[in-house]
Amino acid sequence: MTKFTVNDKPVSTETAPDTPLLYVLRNELELNGAKFGCGLGQCGACTVLLDGQAIFSCLTPLAAIEGRKVTTLEGLGTIDNPGPVQAAFIEEQAAQCGYCIPGMIMRTQGMLNENPSPSEEEIREHLNTNLCRCGTHMRILRAARRAAGKPPADEAALAERSAT
């Protein structure tokens, strides 16, 4: 049996301990936020927080999370009361198909947990692990800047980059 918390609620599961966390989140807890994208840790669609740090849930076995604290997209807020990072993404209409966006939100949250005032380069480097196929990158960057309390517009980021 593996015991841990998900969004501050205690969870215990009999599922084989080498099973990646993603499948427990999606199928046992019926949480939709973390998505299957590659199963290889190459795209970030499955990103969740483990003790506040962004991880690939498709690669992280249950055995590695015993006694630890998992936060998923659902732990950040609800449709009626979205969390600040979710609200920033909604404000920027930062989605096309939206499939990668929960992972982008969790990656952004993980970044802000470590570094509340990231530079433009740091935002881009931090999001480097996550792939988007619709080309929503401009809006994702604007949303991440907004979530970090920075001016969201491309021009502001351009000015910041050329100044450094």
Binding site: C38, A45, G98, R139
Partner: protein, 747 residues
Amino acid sequence: MNAFAGPSMSRRSLLSAGGALVLAFSLSPRLAEAQKTEAKVSGTGKLPGSLSDTPYLDAWIRIGEDDSIAVFTGKAELGQGIKTALIQVAAEQLDVDLKRIVLHTADTGETPNEGYTAASHSMSESGTAIMNAAAQVRAILVARAAEQLGMPATQLTVENGVVSGGGKTLSYGKLVGPDVLHVKARPHSPLKDPKQNTIIGKSVPRVDIPGKLTGAVAYVQDLRLPGMVHARVVRPPVYGAQLTRVDTAKAEGMPGVVKVVRDGNYLAVLAKGEYQAIRAMNALDASASWSGGIALPKKDEIYAVLKGLPSHDTVIQDKGQVGAGRGGTAVKAAYHRPYQLHGSIGPSCAVGHLDGDQLTVWSHTQGAYPDRDAIAEMVGMPQDKVRVIHMEGAGCYGHNGADDAAADAALLATKIPGTPVRVQWMREQEHRWEPYGSAMVVEASATLDGSGKITDWVYDVWSTPHTTRPGPAGSLLAANLIAKPFQAPYPDPIPQPAGGGDRNAVPGYDFPNSRVTKHFIAQMPLRASAMRSLGAYMNVFSLESFMDELALAAKIDPVEFRLQNLTDPRGRDVINLAAEKFGWKDWQRKGPGHGRGFAYARYKNLAVYCAIALEMEVEREAGHVRILRAVAATDSGEAVNPDGIRNQTEGGIVQSASWTLYEEVDYSTQEILSRDWASYPILRFPAVPGAVEVHIVDRPGEPFLGTGEGSQGPTAAAIANSFADATGKRIRDLPLSPEKIRRTLEA
């Protein structure tokens, strides 16, 4: 399976043993129908948009006595924001609040058949139908109110679905009654004066975004039915390989495994738990022996291979007299595009359920009805016993694995009646088995006279098919693999003016003498089908790269050169707007490696207009391109949701930047080598453009022209032109990868 006969079968006789490698040329009427749908141009029937095919108003709009309002579309949300735009159109013409409208999307059980959600047709077909249907419904209800209130309709007002006059009010729900809306649409609708629009033209926030960003059930991947089992398929190592031996016992004995399915060359496993299914899939895969299969061409010979295959050649433009001995400067160039992936970020998924004699499939297909027909044929059931319900998946950008996963779910559901089956493809399966965007070759030549005018234009394009959608059952992978297989149909070209491989091959410019020839290659060395903008991506890349080469030869500014050759006023408007917003006239080169580029096209020569100006820096040693800024101007006709148009255009630019700078399917003669995101690199955040601006030319009252596929071609050419401006060297072979850039700059 014998769908994708390669050109080099005889070269590798070892592979031909046991493989049925002959292309089956079975001309299917339904395939022809499907391809007509792909190429269909809306508004050509007697009634507006898709009302031509589905004329009854209550097929589109139903109002309940409880004042509920349901709107139906045969189109599907693919992440392009169509739901929001269709709700806007309906609410505007019905005069009701947006939030009251419940939109039902593609479902063979309840919505009109609008073929595929493709080709940027959704607004022109479904948007036009719903807009006109809504206006006619409003007029019918107002007329009934006039009758009941004893007042002329002109003296009545409507606010949020309530008709008022003479101090009395009647809601739509009180006015409908049985069959009131079960009438055929008329050719002309009492549409509002666009000046009075309060919802169309507004950047209404997308209705689907809040749920998707907070964990709602939003995708077919999220569908969980009671008792549902998880399936994984095991695919052959290469197209056409035969399953000679498999030890199912080991997989069958693994924890959670419910069933192993083998049907000819089709292999799958069903398990209670999803990860149990993955483990069993791996065991099954390891125990399977395959033989034969189709030899793939050598990747470094692919363009010669394509040109050497039999082709069906059609002159699609023959204007004036080409090559009439006019003197001048002759310019020639050839351009190449490799196979490219749709590469959906979420591998294909579907759920199937055989309940009694009724088969239901939930799928992210782009064509619920055509997919339903193909599935019914494959499983041998009547069409009315098969229902395909669209549920969103991750963005598809064309014909990816969606229909094939739906076929997997349908087939497997028939093997375990009563139990819902969820099939999820693995990343490697999506990469290796989706139908790719075709490799293509373009050759262009032109003559410039002394004043810089183009006197002769000759353009040839070679391509394999750009649609192999279902269609008949033979378009489905599962149907190719089962013991009694369905043959892949002989593909037909998509005719002009939309075109497939020749989409946008006819120049939009006014050249006096022009000959354009398409060379349609029916054989597919690699499986190919519709990928966002079809041949337009390559043709606009080629044509607009060539325009820049000609402008350079003529020593004329590239923007000015385009304007000199273009009379279409709306095309000129977007060119001028993009140049102005970019600051083309006053632009200064900051130093070596800094360059700018411009490109323009009207998608399909009949849809959205798009011009793009772009600047970049080239880091010579690393071979990296850094796009500083892209500025687009676009005319989609009447703009229903400007932010939706911006979102689609920004997305098109960034996606096309990824195709253009990085993307190429890798393969050996033995197998597809692009299996994941390491072996098929795409754009990552550090390389994302510094800024992307989209400027919209709104045309209130003009027809909807679509948006989703307008910017890919112009982006590719603007990048290539910018690179040539920055370095003095031109790359004509996609992609402009770091390795190719380094090679080009060292040469």
